[in-house]
């Protein structure tokens, strides 16, 4: 299965269209935080932008730590989310090594599900949905 990668962030202009699209279309929120992809400056706008998103771990520590099975391992990396099972314990966010999971004010987690709906909203083609490179072994970051 394909995964979302923010491979060309040097081109990012900080328009937040990706975050807004994810919140709007996937999480049904009007937000630039309650989204699977979040944009931050790396220390002021002159230093450019970084994307915070799920790097598609396999095995995924968030899925391993989830006490209810709301997060389960997704084939190809990342997690499958069943919101109804979530008890909002926040363990997934704590387990994530790259701070990719956003907890809103009700402790509801928001994570990238690698659906790629944000990709078409990036005006500079910073994002892409692609297979994890074959030479990356299971457990690798996949962005070699």
């Amino acid at each position: 299965m394909k995964i979302l990668r923010a491979t060309r962030m040097d081109r990012c202009i900080g328009c937040y269209s990706c975050s807004l699209a994810c919140a709007r279309q996937v999480h049904k929120k009007f937000s630039w935080l309650a989204a699977g992809i979040r944009i931050r400056s790396s220390g002021g706008i002159t230093t450019g932008f970084e994307a915070q998103l799920c790097l598609a771990c396999d095995p995924a520590p968030c899925a391993a730590t989830c006490p209810t099975g709301a997060y389960s391992q997704r084939k190809g990396g990342g997690v499958i989310v069943k919101t109804k099972l979530c008890i909002r314990c926040g363990q997934c966010a704590a387990a994530c090594p790259v701070d990719a999971i956003y907890l809103d004010e009700t402790n509801r987690p928001h994570v990238c599900i690698h659906c790629g709906q944000c990709v078409e909203f990036c005006p500079h083609d910073c994002l892409e949905l692609r297979e994890k490179p074959k030479h990356v072994h299971q457990g690798g970051a996949g962005d070699a």
Binding site: I13, C15, S17, R24, K29, W32, G44, I45, H124
Partner: protein, 588 residues
């Protein structure tokens, strides 16, 4: 139906407390320009000076801000230190979305903090922190320090700050927004300064439900607007070379103000053309949050600071207006040198246009012997980049009596030192369009004395018959269309995409069907309200002047026609008084 009132956060600086109020009606005030004027009507003190502690500094969103692409501006409303009358200034950056996600439609600063402070507003926080150690710091340093003082929320907040010019209460100190954007004109920076607010941090840390009753409909309409903004030719100008693309055509039309408007065309202007900037200095683009166009053009300023090969580099945003003011107007015809002046203006927290035009006047006055070396301190001469860099520092810091006077406005200085005839002031320092009588009349009289108030400079560039009534009818109508956009609040660059039909669709989609049907009447009412506030705070349009230098301009269309200019101004003045007349039920 959602609550039609606006949620306003008033910060009482004297006691460091916030007050949340429901104010006005979206169907009437729309937001942005309209909301700011309505808030000024309620909280402003028309008869007190701009520096009175209780004068409000208003930041207002519109009812579409953030909900659709390029609805990405905030309107500031305040009593201006430039003319001590009601004024507006607009900015983008991350502020519109950050404010939207605080849950407030407007933030109003009132009172005066006992000492320098930084104010922080978020969806669940209102705080002020001592910032005495930042007083005197330039706008860029202030941004860096504030990021450390308020850690977290990186990328999801906006930092407004002032430089030294706002502290020395310059009439044209700006508010820097997120490094690259500004509330530029008419001195809002000094309104912050007089309130002892060095910085305002707005954290967009809240999440909201999608607007409107149908999430599907909203997502579909958003997609359509997004495609229009990115896939069509309409926005390519802003996406490509940006506004600097205007340098070459205006130079060809003999409409580029050069060397204090002694010239309107010069082959040397190719050194500061949009193409030159784009090919030699442009390193990246940036966007206001919520805008996929990304019109912010950032150039690299590379300066050698030691004989050995040691360089410092800085990123400096440039635009047409800055190139005109800190390039052509002061005879700097080298793109990198113009960028160096923009960088200095940025640090001082000055309005770029007013600074360039003020220094152009000072240069000519110095050359003519009206100013002494002791007063200007540096050898101001067209093209002398080092002298201008020093002069900009002096202006920001109000270093001596002369620079203090110049910081109060070019005409203010000219009245004292002489040279009113060649002070390029049209209500405030001119914008970069020596296009002809329509623009000169418009900027000298219009609401913000801004090139963005009306499409006057475009009008001049097309063939037109000299019919003052027809021109003024156009100016008034065009202003109304712009008031609608700046109330929603849209970026004016999107005016080609946001047709009335599309705006109606957007308004209906966010559950404002009444406003969708009634937007023209609401916009007209807000246009009138703005003028009422301007007149109530002392505007006498007849007192504005078009200095002689403008009448000496020769454009592609020929020499200026003073009688026609006077006729357009007379008709516009009449229209302004009609627009600003008290409402009938107020006079009865």
């Amino acid at each position: 139906m959602p609550d039609p009132s606006f949620r306003v956060c008033i910060i009482h600086l004297d006691r460091a407390k916030g007050e949340i109020v429901a104010f006005g009606d979206k169907n009437t005030h729309i937001g942005g320009s309209g909301l700011a004027a309505a808030l000024f009507e309620k909280y402003g003190l028309p008869d007190e000076p701009w520096s009175h502690p209780d004068q409000p500094l208003i930041f207002a969103l519109g009812c579409l801000t953030g909900y659709f692409p390029l609805m990405s501006k905030v309107v500031a409303g305040f009593k201006s230190p430039y003319h001590d009358q009601y004024a507006e200034s607009h900015a983008g950056g991350r502020l519109p979305l950050a404010m939207r996600f605080t849950g407030y439609d407007a933030i109003v600063l009132r009172g005066r903090a006992p000492g320098p402070v930084a104010v922080h507003v978020g969806s669940r926080i209102i705080e002020t922190k001592d910032a005495n150690y930042l007083w005197g710091a330039n706008a860029l340093t202030t941004g860096r320090v504030i990021r450390r003082v308020f850690p977290g929320a990186s990328g999801h907040r906006s930092i407004l700050r002032i430089g030294p010019a706002g502290e020395t209460l310059s009439a044209y100190a700006c508010i820097n927004v997120d490094t690259f954007r500004h509330f530029g004109r008419l001195g809002s920076g000094s309104v912050m300064g007089v309130k002892n607010v060095k910085a305002l941090v707005v954290s967009g840390d809240g999440n909201m439900d999608l607007p409107g009753s149908s999430t599907k409909k909203y997502a579909k309409l958003f997609r359509k607007v997004y495609k229009d903004m990115t896939a069509t030719e309409m926005m390519s100008k802003y996406h490509d070379l940006g506004t600097p693309v205007n340098v070459a055509p205006l130079n060809a039309l003999k409409s580029l103000p050069i060397r204090n408007l002694l010239q309107t065309t010069d082959p040397e202007a190719q050194g500061i053309s949009g193409e030159r900037f784009g090919n030699d200095l442009l390193i990246r683009n940036a966007a206001c949050a919520g805008c996929p166009v990304g019109c912010i053009h950032v150039g690299m300023l590379r300066e050698r600071f030691q004989d050995e090969h040691r360089f410092q580099i800085r990123q400096v945003a440039y635009d047409y207006e800055l190139i005109f003011a800190l390039g052509a107007m002061v005879g700097i015809m080298d793109a990198s040198n113009a960028l160096a002046l923009m960088d200095e203006v940025e640090k001082q927290g000055l309005d770029a246009m007013s600074t360039g035009v003020a220094l152009a006047w000072a240069t000519e006055a110095y050359q003519k012997g009206m100013l002494s070396k002791e007063q200007v301190e540096y050898d101001l001469a067209f093209g002398n980049v080092q002298a201008y860099k020093e002069a900009i520092w002096c202006l920001g810091h109000a270093k001596n009596e002369f620079y203090r006077d110049l910081a109060r406005g070019t005409l203010h200085a000219a009245r004292k030192y002489g040279g009113e005839d060649f002070a390029c002031v049209l209500g405030q320092e001119m914008a970069g369009y020596a296009t002809g009588e329509t623009f000169f009349a418009s900027q000298s009289l219009s609401f913000r004395h801004s090139h963005l108030d009306t499409g006057a400079y475009g009008y001049d560039q097309k063939k037109h018959d000299k019919n003052p009534d027809k021109v003024v009818a156009y100016l008034v109508k065009d202003e109304r269309e712009r008031v609608l956009l700046t109330s929603l609040v849209s970026c004016l660059f999107a005016r080609g995409v946001y047709t009335k039909e599309l705006l109606a669709e957007c308004l209906a989609c966010v559950d404002l069907p009444d406003l969708a049907k009634n937007m023209d009447a609401a916009a007209e009412e807000m246009q009138r309200l703005r003028w009422r506030m301007r007149l109530a705070t002392g505007y006498v349009p007849e007192k504005t002047k078009v200095p002689k230098r403008f009448l000496e301009v020769e454009t592609w269309a020929g020499k200026m026609d003073p009688a026609y200019l006077d006729a357009v101004r007379a008709a516009y003045i009449k229209a302004i008084y009609e627009l600003g007349a008290a409402r009938k039920n107020e006079t009865e």
